[in-house]
Symmetry: C2
Subunit: 208 residues, 2 copies
């Protein structure tokens, strides 16, 4: 079986990344792709389930895993750890399943350095006004928090040129189709197709 | 404007390449893609129009163009010349239009050597039996001609591993979607998107 492809999908908060990934997975329920489930030390938010949204672990356990070099990449954000287990991703790719890593530019840089064949995709909002509107429409944060988010978004966007591909989320369905095109096209690479269709090419090339 | 991408679509006779290209162009009538029109010295077949299907030229004229190094690649097949004008392709790409080159593995190799950024795609038939059926169903050729075509198809297929991507035409709509995915994904490359969306990124990154 041809091995799966590892995709990094990065975006500023407010670019619509989570909705795009959700819609993509709903379209492809053939177990050919999945998101990577990260480890984190932050508290679960309402509705978040352990081992589905994150592996929620204690700080001491996370630090133990760091010592064991168990993470592909890890980062401390707002005092909480986030990390991506090497083993979980390797196992999934080996089963021929594409994996989406939902991480920031720093994580992208670390993973790309370790696995250069990783496909990195940056998802951009359609405009500054729309980005601000999306950051505000969550409706539960103060102006200072929103201004801070806008600054963080800008910092994330400033690294867009380090990615292999850029998708602008100005039209949801089009952006979804573009991410889908990236996933499909990677599967069509000659070495992968040669493995997937080995029997076909053996038959086609057989002498009479 | 971001420049267009050059695609080589190669396939054995009977793989369904022409139908796929036709359907793709019918889906995208926004002048964002077109097939390259080759020069040839062979006689027009019924229905073929000059400058649409081929630039039909005399042998002496073709040989003059060869001397002027006007062709990207050229080949002699069954005593007729076929060639691809460098200037025509360069002009089209510069206008931001993707160009499909409908050539064989020899032409693909020549073009790729000159323009390494060319995306080469091999379209394969779904099985030997189906390939034979398609070669027969034209219904106007003798068994010897069909056997000859089968040998030529096998010779073409034997080079499938020199291509960047492989599409197996077992389901027409799926194969069409796959070629479309290759075209879309090339447009999403970061350097091209940075040019296409230069204003957007300047706005997003502007300091308050």
């Amino acid at each position: 079986m041809a091995s799966g492809n590892l995709f990094i999908l990065a975006a500023p908060s407010g670019a619509g990344k989570s909705s795009l990934i959700k819609a993509l997975l709903e379209r492809h329920q053939d177990r050919s792709m999945q998101v990577s489930v990260s480890h984190t030390t932050r508290q679960p938010r309402p509705g978040e389930q352990d081992a589905v949204h994150y592996h929620f672990v204690a700080k001491s356990e996370f630090e133990q895993l760091i010592k064991q070099d168990a993470f592909f990449e890890w980062a401390e954000v707002f005092g909480n750890y986030y990390g991506t287990s090497k083993q979980a991703i390797a196992d999934t790719l080996e089963r021929g399943i594409d994996v989406f890593l939902d991480i920031d530019w720093q994580g992208a840089r670390q993973v790309k350095a370790l696995m250069p064949q990783t496909i990195t995709v940056f998802i951009a909002p359609p405009s500054r006004a729309e980005l601000l509107r999306r950051l505000q429409s969550r409706g539960q944060d103060s102006e200072a928090v929103i201004a801070d988010r806008m600054n963080k978004a800008r910092a994330e966007i400033s690294h867009y040129n380090e990615f292999d591909y850029v998708v602008v989320n100005d039209d949801f369905d089009r952006a979804l189709g573009e991410i889908e095109a990236l996933v499909i096209s990677q599967r069509l690479q000659q070495p992968k197709q040669a493995i997937r269709h080995a029997d076909l090419f053996a038959e086609l090339l057989k002498e009479d």
